[in-house]
């Protein structure tokens, strides 16, 4: 299975995302923001980092890059897309996911090992988990506070669009402790925590993050 990992100018966790894909058993494929070429991948990961320095708004400028037009079109056609941290910000800015990510409530960048509750174990990116499972994955962001109008939040909750929620403390003041959301069809998922940093005992606080990458591989097998 070929999983594309997009590099924007200022992407940082692209190498990590590629490693996670590999450790999960997939084949990482490097994609370049300025190309109009998805290289026939079976799914796409938008990695963390500071695309365009987080200038203007995190993810805003990357969301308008050439390749994102292709990603948006392919996602509307069902291509699984995962946005991690800056990738999540890009997906919101590109309109593929609802809401927005804003400056952390405490105004600091924060990196810590974070408890998460998996609320949807039936998306393309979370099927390896059990619903209600608690996992630990690093968070690290300065603009990770998820916001949307209250009515919009109610709608998302009603539709079960919250995929993961912070537990044991909210690291950034996100509305309703939301850590990640999904598109209505469960194919596009965005989350602030970094599953690609929890894929090896040696370097991560857990290996819980692998589940996101194994999920999409099995989703693709099922689809095939």
């Amino acid at each position: 299975m070929r999983i594309g990992v997009i590099t924007f100018p200022g992407s940082l966790d692209d190498v990590d995302a590629a490693r996670a894909v590999r450790l999960a058993g997939g084949e990482p494929v490097a994609l370049w923001h300025a190309d109009h070429d998805l290289k026939d991948v079976d799914a796409v990961v938008l990695p963390g980092g500071f695309s365009y320095g987080d200038y203007l708004r995190a993810g805003a400028i990357a969301a308008r890059s050439p390749l994102m037009a292709d990603v948006v079109a392919a996602a509307r056609g069902g291509l699984p897309v995962l946005g991690i941290c800056n990738g999540f910000q890009v997906l919101c800015e590109a309109g593929l996911l609802p809401g927005a990510l804003t400056r952390n409530g405490h105004l600091h960048f924060r990196n810590r090992d974070q408890g998460l509750l998996v609320e949807r174990a039936d998306t393309a990116w979370t099927s390896s988990f059990e619903q209600g499972q608690r996992i630990v994955v690093p968070v690290k962001n300065g603009e990770g506070r998820y916001v949307a109008a209250p009515a919009e939040l109610d709608r998302l909750e009603g539709e079960g669009r919250v995929v993961v929620r912070y537990v044991d403390g909210n690291p950034n003041g996100s509305s309703r402790d939301i850590a990640g959301v999904t598109s209505a069809d469960g194919r596009v998922v965005g989350l602030m925590p970094h599953p690609e940093h929890a894929v090896e005992e040696l370097t991560g606080p857990s290996v819980d993050g692998l589940g996101f990458f194994t999920s999409v591989l099995s989703a693709l097998v099922v689809a095939a």
């Binding site: 100018p9 200022g10 940082l12 966790d13 190498v15 990590d16 490693r19 963390g48 980092g49 500071f50 365009y52 320095g53 987080d54 200038y55 952390n104 409530g105 405490h106 600091h108 960048f109 924060r110 990196n111 810590r112 609320e119 619903q131 209600g132 690093p138 690290k140 300065g142 506070r145 916001v147 909750e157 929620r165 403390g169 909210n170 690291p171 950034n172 003041g173 996100s174 509305s175 309703r176 402790d177 970094h194 690609e196 940093h197 894929v199 090896e200 040696l202 370097t203 991560g204």
Partner: protein, 773 residues
């Protein structure tokens, strides 16, 4: 008058109004008065420039010499002492030694590592966020220049009293700046220091370290060779910010009103630097450069003169080609500008196109500004006229050099005679005081602002004793790094203090299981024009050199920061020492925290009643005096070998070095890391046992105490069995009992209380709407 004002007046000096000062004019009008003193040059220095050139310098030449001959760029006060490092025995591991942008060390398997620590003290006081940020940016470019991919940063920070109002201004900005820049570059921060002392109130220290990795064959050097090769300036445009900034700012004392010469501050752009890194690495991989230099202090003046001086020919630059952000800059200002995120490369003519293409791919502006010539002059033209014509070596290498007068501080005897108290009236209260003091307290408020995970190779990071990084995913080859600098010890005895700092960094690296390999350092001192400061400096250098000789380690490079003082009062001498170690297999790394119940807790090394310069004396008694702990490098070496072998054989599950705060501090940190207590028994004088700071000591935990004892004793390292892990308290039989919850509350509360709560942010949700399934 500020350096900038001095310069802008140059071109409008009487008799030269509206006329560009050229080499021709300087020859024609040799007697024009020049404001060299305002630019920081002494009478004899100016006279030497005239002698070198055989005429007066042009305005642009004067600017160039003044920044290059500043203390910051020329090391004029420190060079005669630093020579001691160069005299150390040759090390096989050292591929590139001092003098290049950073030293390069062979770590095996064809990999090399380059690392260096550098100060950005003065700019960080003026503008904490940008000062610290650009400090990180600068050291990262030094590492990149060697051909390496930067892979991590560390930061060593010192501020005035934690509760002083100015600390509340400076510290949050500095921490945010270190984090803001490093995080945006994608470099994990793997450790550092955070310490407070009144002596830094008007002069905080911000030292940043960067480490990079390369294959041996990827090494790049900063020299201009090959007549006809092009000089390419790339990265950010040149602006009017920081003209003469680092060089002038870091070469003088701050008075009560702050720096007399207050140049515009530089604003960092980490995004551009990230692009510069990726572009450079692609350029190196494609073999497109023959030499490369970063632009830091003294900007284009420094890069061109150093590249030319290191090569065998000359260089001709067309200054009009330099892309500017501000078209009103004078040529002297362009030459002195310290605009960030710029590099300069030497490129063969037939590779220029490919070079520019890589830059274009990464949106990096790149411009050919000159070429390597066959003469021995560096010439620079502006609007078709020659404004600089100098022998580059005289600018870059043959600056002034002083043997400044030295004298042992007059108060030192009294200070050393003033021995500290040696007995605690209340061990429990003192324990809590030490671990909750700003120096001893939990540093998460700071370190949570740093990304420690990016790149996915961080094996250990703060709050571990050393940062450990994996370098090769298939072989698990890795490195360890620690930065340490106890200025109280150095104040009491700079010779021994520098060695104690080296010993601590060495021990921290060994504790992780690594074999120490090489040393970098940043020497932060007061004004070299004060003979007592100069003596402290010389003693510290001598101590560090002697220590390195005894431990068999080369000094690969470093940085000197002088004029760290407010008015007449110098900071405590602060030599910050970085030690690099190598891990043959990072999966064998040893962490500091206790995880399992029922393991034996052993103390390796010998405890003596030593309180001079200790954290306990400072925190509990407000005392600084006596002598620092006795140095024992032979013991450090044996201990280091024992630790490396215990790690390789998997015999210990944790190891934590004893330093500031002694056993009390170490036990607190090991227990709180994962919330595992212990029941222990210490013998001998309890104050010495808990708070003494004898060197060459480590606490380890093991499931096989007999095996550990055998290894240690075979190497002559004393072993004391302290007790067993388990429970939710630290119990020291007959002395005290500290529930971990109480200990944690005390240890973690300090920095948030001082600098704002980092606590869980309040969600915007009414409680109860969060599903519990």
């Amino acid at each position: 008058m500020s350096a900038t004002e001095g310069l802008s007046e140059l071109d409008t000096a009487p008799g030269r109004t509206n006329r560009l000062d050229t080499v021709a004019l300087a020859t024609e009008q040799p007697d024009d008065a020049q404001p060299y003193a305002e630019l920081g040059l002494k009478d004899d220095e100016y006279a030497r420039i005239r002698e070198i050139l055989g005429r007066r310098p042009t305005t642009a030449e004067l600017a160039m010499y003044s920044v290059m001959w500043s203390e910051h760029c020329s090391y004029k006060s420190s060079k005669v002492h630093l020579r001691r490092f160069g005299d150390l025995p040759k090390s096989d591991a050292l591929l590139v030694g001092m003098g290049e942008n950073a030293g390069v060390v062979d770590v095996g398997e064809g990999y090399a590592v380059t690392f260096k620590v550098e100060s950005h003290n003065h700019p960080s006081y003026v503008e904490p966020y940008q000062g610290a940020a650009t400090g990180v940016g600068g050291i990262v470019r030094d590492i990149l220049t060697m051909g390496a991919r930067p892979i991590a940063v560390m930061d060593s920070l010192r501020f005035g009293r934690a509760d002083a109002p100015d600390t509340a201004r400076v510290l949050p900005g500095v921490v945010a700046g270190v984090g803001g820049y490093g995080n945006c570059l994608g470099l994990p921060n793997i450790g550092g220091e955070l310490l407070f002392d009144d002596c830094y109130a008007g002069n905080p220290l911000v030292n940043a370290l960067c480490v990079g990795v390369l294959r041996h064959e990827e090494l790049q050097l900063a020299k201009a060779e090959g007549v006809g090769n092009k000089v390419v300036l790339f990265g950010a445009r040149t602006g009017g910010d920081g003209i003469g900034g680092v060089s002038v700012l870091a070469s003088e004392t701050f008075d009560a009103e702050g720096p007399a010469k207050r140049p515009a501050v530089q604003v960092g752009d980490p995004f551009t630097e990230k692009l510069l890194i990726e572009a450079c690495l692609e350029i190196f991989a494609a073999g497109l450069v023959t030499g490369i230099q970063d632009l830091g202090g003294a900007g284009i003046s420094c890069a061109t003169s150093e590249l030319a001086a290191a090569g065998s020919g000359g260089m001709a630059i067309d200054l009009d080609a330099v892309p500017l952000r501000d078209s009103t800059l004078t040529p002297a200002e362009i030459l002195m500008s310290e605009s960030q995120e710029r590099m300069c490369a030497i490129v063969e003519p037939d590779k220029v196109e490919a070079f520019l293409a890589v830059c274009a791919k990464w949106d990096v502006l790149a411009t050919v500004i000159g070429e390597v010539t066959d003469g021995d002059r560096l010439t620079i033209d502006w609007h078709g006229e020659r404004i600089i014509d100098v022998p580059p070596r005289t600018v870059a290498l043959e600056g002034p050099r002083y043997e400044r007068p030295m004298s042992r501080p007059a108060d030192l005897d009294a200070l050393q005679a003033d021995t500290p108290p040696s007995s605690s009236a209340d061990l429990r209260a003192d324990w809590l005081a030490v671990v909750s003091s700003p120096d001893g307290a939990d540093k998460s408020w700071v370190t949570e602002q740093y990304d420690r995970y990016v790149r996915g190779n961080t094996v250990l990071a703060q709050p571990e004793d050393a940062g450990v990084l994996r370098i090769d995913e298939s072989s698990n080859l890795g490195i360890a790094l620690s930065l340490d600098g106890n200025a109280r010890y150095a104040r009491l005895d700079p010779y021994t203090g520098a060695q104690l700092n080296l010993a601590e960094a060495y021990r921290n690296v060994a504790v992780s299981g690594a074999k120490p390999l090489a040393v970098t350092n940043c020497l932060n001192f007061g004004s070299p024009e004060n003979p007592e400061v100069m003596w402290q400096f010389a003693e510290a250098v001598r101590g560090l050199a002697d220590g390195c000789r005894e431990l068999g380690l080369p000094v690969t490079g470093g940085n000197v920061s002088l004029y760290n003082q407010t008015g007449d009062v110098a900071i405590n001498p602060t030599p910050v020492i970085g030690v690099l170690g190598v891990h043959a297999d990072v999966t064998r790394r040893v962490p500091t925290g206790w995880r399992a119940d029922g393991e034996s807790v052993l103390l390796l090394g010998e405890t003596r009643p030593e309180f001079g310069g200790s954290a306990w004396a400072a925190v509990v008694h407000g005392h600084l005096g006596g002598l620092p702990p006795r140095l024992d490098l032979a013991a450090e070496r044996s201990l280091g070998e024992v630790l490396t072998s215990l790690a390789a054989d998997g015999l210990v599950s944790s190891a934590h070095d004893l330093a500031d705060g002694g056993l009390a501090q170490a036990l607190t940190e090991s227990a709180l890391r994962y919330g595992t207590g212990a029941r222990l028994n210490v013998t001998g004088d309890p104050t010495a046992a808990l708070f003494g700071e004898s060197v060459a000591r480590v606490v380890v935990t093991t499931a096989d105490p007999a095996a550990v004892r055998a290894v240690a004793e075979a190497a002559g390292v004393p072993v004391t069995e302290l007790g067993t892990t388990g429970g939710d308290a630290l119990v020291l039989d007959g002395l005290l009992e500290l529930p971990l919850a109480e200990l944690r509350a005390a240890w973690t509360a300090t920095l948030p209380a001082l600098f704002g709560s980092p606590e869980v942010a309040v969600g915007t949700v009414p409680a109860g709407t969060v599903p519990t399934s």
